[in-house]
Each structure stands twice: as C-alpha cells, then as structure tokens.
Amino acid sequence: MAMQASEIESLIRAAFPDATITIEDLRGDGDHYACNVVSSAFVGKTRVQQHQMVYQALGGRMGGELHALALQTSTPKGG
C-alpha cells in the first residue's frame, strides 16, 4: 500500500514542528520517496539516532506500507 507525500510530511511535522521538510516522489508511484528533514531537534544526535527519530514519527510505517524512503537528516546551519 502506498502513502501520500502529504501524509508523510504531516506525520514528520507533528513530531518536528520546527522542521524544514522536503519530500520528493522519486518514481511518481507513491512508493519511492526521498525525504530531507532539517530540524534543531537533531542537534547533538548521531545520524542513526536522527533517523530513528524520524522512523518513530512515522509510527512503524517505515519498512511496512512505506517501502522506500531515502532519508537525509541535518541540523539548521548558522544562527
């Protein structure tokens, strides 16, 4: 089952209200997304922890109904 980009974004947004979120539907099939999340919540976390936080926000959908989400996380640059 596929997921809408807007659905993915709102799940992430709920967990990271300050985030800049970019989602790209890689194949236009609603099943292969690339997602970039920039949030101050990631400060001081390892990459693994940052990705785990996003997966948690997606509430178990990753690896299930959400087959392919290429994820990139980072913290806001500058001040």
Binding site: R47, V48, H51, Q52, Y55, G60, M62, G63, G64, A68, A70, L71, Q72
Partner: protein, 112 residues
C-alpha cells in the same frame, strides 16, 4: 519480537567479523537495490565483510530490526556497532566519513 536464542545468534554473528552486513541476498547476488548499494560501497573501498542473508531466516530478518531498533535492511555493523542503513552508508561514503571510520577502526579501506 527478539527472543533470547535469536539475540544470542546476532551477538555471535556481529562479533564473527569486523564488518558484517545484514542484507537481502548475498554479496555476490544481492536481491534488493539498497543491499546492492551497500555491497557496492564496501567492495569499492576494498573492505572485507561478511554478508548475512536475512531472506534465508525469518527470525533473523525480524530479529535484527528489533536488535538495532531499525526498521529496514540492509544494516551494517562494524566491530559490533550498528553504523547505519543504506542512506547513512551512502552519505558517509560521499563525505569521506566512511573511509575515515574504517581507518580509525584499524580496517583497511582505500580512500575514495
């Protein structure tokens, strides 16, 4: 999700080699693009690794996700530490961090 027997097997497997990759398929014949991508990076860096095919064993396939609290395969372990999945490995490779990490761990890797 993670019974004691499976956990013990994973503990032993990730300690069996310096670099262990849980993947779909085998290093010679990966059965998923994400697994193939990580195999490609490790091969390119000339890093010897052991591939464990999760498609051969459902208890490992599900168990490894609980073990690392990580929902997807592939998963790369270096000196028993979980380093990341496909996205993280690719990103670390591109920034040169992966080569650096292997060298810090005393594992030979060709600088990219």
């Amino acid at each position: 999700m993670l019974d004691d027997a499976t956990k013990e097997r994973i503990d032993a497997d990730i300690a069996s080699e310096d670099v262990v990759l849980y993947m779909k398929g085998t290093p010679v014949f990966p059965q998923c693009g994400f697994s193939a991508a990580v195999v490609g990076v490790l091969t390119h860096l000339g890093v010897p690794f052991r591939g464990i095919n999760v498609l051969e064993d459902d208890s490992i396939r599900e168990g490894i996700k609980a073990y690392s609290d990580w929902p997807t395969i592939p998963q790369l372990y270096v000196k028993r530490e979980f380093v990341g999945g496909c996205d993280i490995i690719r990103e670390m490779y591109e920034t040169g961090e992966l080569t650096e990490m292997f060298q810090t761990q005393g594992i030979d890797a060709k600088p990219s």
